[in-house]
Symmetry: C2
Subunit: 278 residues, 2 copies
């Protein structure tokens, strides 16, 4: 991801200095004109804006929160595109404020090959005027950039929620492929129908967002009691082949609990309201 | 669903007789010209083809496997569009064969309002020549119909795998909405980005189907070790708000087990292969 970001800056004509925790990971970037710094402190000192993207905030803390780097960053701006939790983003923003570092937190919602292309999706949070100041440089990364608000944890909150949708869906697809194979159905045979299921999700996401915000959970078309029956069939079919159904068992448990709380005639998204109860 | 099916037959000019376990659920169908039978046996005796769609195979067995109905069905055809497991579909096909009943098993992959429209998706399995014989009448239900093979459990196998994708994705979305709300993000704010995630799923389903069938699991862009980090962030953010993370915890467990088996550099869909190991 770091290489993709630096490559996009380079392609857009932005003077770029790179530093990686593992030396030599910059590929052909140096041949193409990117300066490779010998240390993180040298790298951050080279530009008014530092973009950080590592595996998590333990890793970004290890890079940023050293005396040499913190000193070099004073008065400069960090845009941290590392993915982690909203709490870690807010904690890093507080650290930055304590040390005179100007700080924006962000997330990249699309895979590395989309960086520098119109398909990239970037979200940002933190001081609006700081975002406005660096927006032109950030736009060099391509795609769409959205500033979500001043709370530095807000981009991470969106990121976590969206990754939740993504990875849970992927876990469902992986499980579906395992069941299909046990039933003699290849992934290629299933794929066109799976794509059909994928295609009906976005409009349902929109419809259920309305339901959730409005506190309406119409189950007229598909009540939770009927969903529970479906979930139980999937668990049964999976386990009859010796295939671990832990993800679906957990989903079935949440749905059954929601029915037991009196919401069997509601739509499935009532589960979200029950999950969020304190 | 039964009302939608009968309505579609009626609209297509197919002479239709209905029977429901709960009398009076036929709405305005009788006013529109559908004959309401007084018993299931009378209903199946009225036509060469009987379409069954109830909540599960316990319910369809209770209707079909009575002396009166079994006798009336002899030599006639049943298309069972009830959703359940492949085993139940095969068991019902075996019962049908034992009693001289011609049998096709199917599933409806789209919600009731799509019945009778081009959006409906129907899958069928069982004897090909029986499907060919009744195809014209089934086409009256609208949408696309696909015969998946002679194994009577094959439509149910697809159905289970596809419902797995659907419901797991929905469980992920419900959980995402709960986290977003705890973070002060409304569902409407999240929805456009969630729709973006939904839109990237179909091409990934296609790509991962190739990986799975070929036994290649490239993690070059997104290795499992990195996915595990993502899943752990989601669990942490969820539980820091007191939100049950059981579905994501189960997914994280499968991913960590797959890494522990030596597949950390592979892509996420390696989980499907590990799930399917005997």
């Amino acid at each position: 991801m770091g290489r993709a970001l630096a490559g996009a800056f380079l392609a857009a004509g932005v003077r770029t200095t790179v530093w990686n925790r593992t030396p030599g990971r910059d590929g052909d970037l140096t041949e193409r004109g990117v300066h490779a710094a010998a240390s993180a402190a040298e790298a951050v000192a080279a530009s008014p804006l530092t973009v950080v993207c590592v595996v998590n905030y333990d890793a970004s803390d290890a890079v940023l929160r050293t005396d040499a780097v913190t000193t070099a960053l004073k008065g400069r701006t960090v845009v941290n595109l590392t993915a982690d939790t909203p709490d870690r983003a807010r904690d890093t923003a507080a650290w930055a404020a304590d040390h005179g570092v100007r700080y924006l937190d962000g997330a990249i919602m699309t895979p590395a090959p989309t960086i520098g292309t119109p398909q990239g999706v970037f979200i940002h949070s933190g001081p609006a005027e700081l975002y406005a100041e660096h927006r032109a440089v950030l736009d060099a990364l391509g795609g769409t950039h959205t500033h979500l608000g001043e709370d530095p944890g807000r981009a991470a909150a969106y990121d976590i929620a969206l990754l939740d949708v993504f990875w849970t869906s992927m876990a469902g697809y992986a499980h579906a492929l395992a069941i299909a194979k046990a039933e003699g159905v290849t992934a290629r045979e299933l794929a066109p129908f799976a794509q059909g299921i994928g295609a009906i999700l976005p409009p349902l996401f929109e419809e259920f967002a309305e339901d959730f915000d409005n506190g309406t959970y119409s189950g007229a078309i598909n009540p939770l009691t009927s969903a529970v029956s479906s979930l139980a069939h999937i668990v049964h079919a999976s386990e009859s082949h010796g295939i671990n159904a832990s993800v679906m068992r957990a989903a079935e448990g949440l749905a059954r609990r929601t029915v037991a709380l009196g919401h069997g005639a509601d739509g499935f998204i009532r589960v979200a309201e029950v999950l969020g109860r304190r």
